[in-house]
Symmetry: C2
């Protein structure tokens, strides 16, 4: 559908796919962090030799920043999809957490948690651009939660007295905690259980109080 090479560029064709290479580079950084990932490792992971890396992405830092950008954008899009208005808030929240867990445990032998939280946090103290991307990335995700809670308040899904900003921050905090704990070695079932309880608390605490027992599905 999408036409890729309407017109071939002039010189020798690339031996790699830039998007693919960025994904591979992301996985390398995801595993060992920015400082812990060498250009040799990036070269091996992407299949590109060093000069090609520089030609395509600039230096190591620029490549890392590009990887962060892509990751945040994909995560945001996934969240928006999971939180779609035609699913009740609690179910949407749970979909976000389930999706996150699937990503964080994608490599079952070595759970990596969240790429942004797991690697950019360290670099943020040293590199202002990383700090900015980490900050805006986290805020974007929180704001996605907030938008859903706000819509839910308008819908009547959530009583008018509740604060969508606070609920969004709490939902974000749960996500942060899961991301971190996955990388810290906590088991997936335990985090899944936590996420379910947290959803119940956040969506239950928001309403006028009712029985928790015997709720359908």
């Amino acid at each position: 559908m999408v036409q890729k090479e309407l017109k071939r560029p002039r010189g020798r064709p690339r031996a790699y796919d830039p998007d693919d290479a960025l994904v591979q580079a992301t996985e390398s950084f995801w595993h060992a962090g920015f400082a812990g990932t060498s250009l040799d490792a990036l070269s091996a992971a992407t299949g590109m030799n060093r000069p090609s890396l520089y030609g395509a992405f600039g230096d190591k830092r620029e490549l890392y920043l590009a990887a962060l950008d892509r990751y945040v954008e994909v995560s945001r899009a996934d969240m928006v999809r999971a939180l779609s208005d035609d699913v009740p808030i609690a179910a949407g929240l749970q979909r976000v957490y389930d999706g996150a867990l699937a990503l964080y445990f994608a490599k079952p032998e070595a759970p990596l948690g969240c790429f942004l939280i797991g690697t950019a946090a360290t670099e943020a103290a040293v590199d202002a651009r990383v700090r900015a991307k980490l900050g805006t990335g986290l805020r974007e995700l929180t704001r996605t939660f907030e938008a859903r809670f706000r819509a839910g308040r308008k819908n009547g899904e959530i009583p008018p007295g509740t604060d969508p900003v606070l609920l969004a921050e709490m939902a974000g905090a749960v996500l942060h905690s899961i991301a971190l704990r996955a990388r810290a070695g906590d088991s997936r079932p335990s985090l899944q259980a936590f996420s379910r309880a947290a959803v119940k608390l956040l969506c239950g605490a928001a309403r006028p109080r009712r029985r928790t027992k015997g709720s359908a599905r």
Copy 2:
């Protein structure tokens, strides 16, 4: 009170204080992470030359692990103190968060967040011992919350139907989020506001629902 040099050891005396040096090393790691901190930096920060560092702590990794241990122990002790039973739960929780913020913003020009969360998360994926320390560290803090909630349930501070494990995990999640967001550049007042709202939510949601306005002290 504590006698330090009841008997001087045999050889040439040390030119440094081991505890002090560990604190200095911690600050270095706190800033740039494990991989980002060189032995030269550690040497400069501690005032010890390389062979002394090796003699005192072993290699760089061992030194980092010792720094993590000390940090977790101090944090745990601070938390236990803040959550003492003779202060209401909500106030105790708030003391924990206020203390954390004071620590995370100790260097106002460059907020470093939490040492454990900010640096060990990155290294955890590569180093099993760091992962273990991160995991047990986080769990210890959460269990400290849990103990306080459990005591509060026994006291009547919190209704018997609530789950202390969940509340502790939520309180921990708020702490994790604050730690992260401090390092991501969020302002201290915004995080303080978040912590206050979170305390209200966690301690308010736990009780049978009542007015928030006009509660004494």
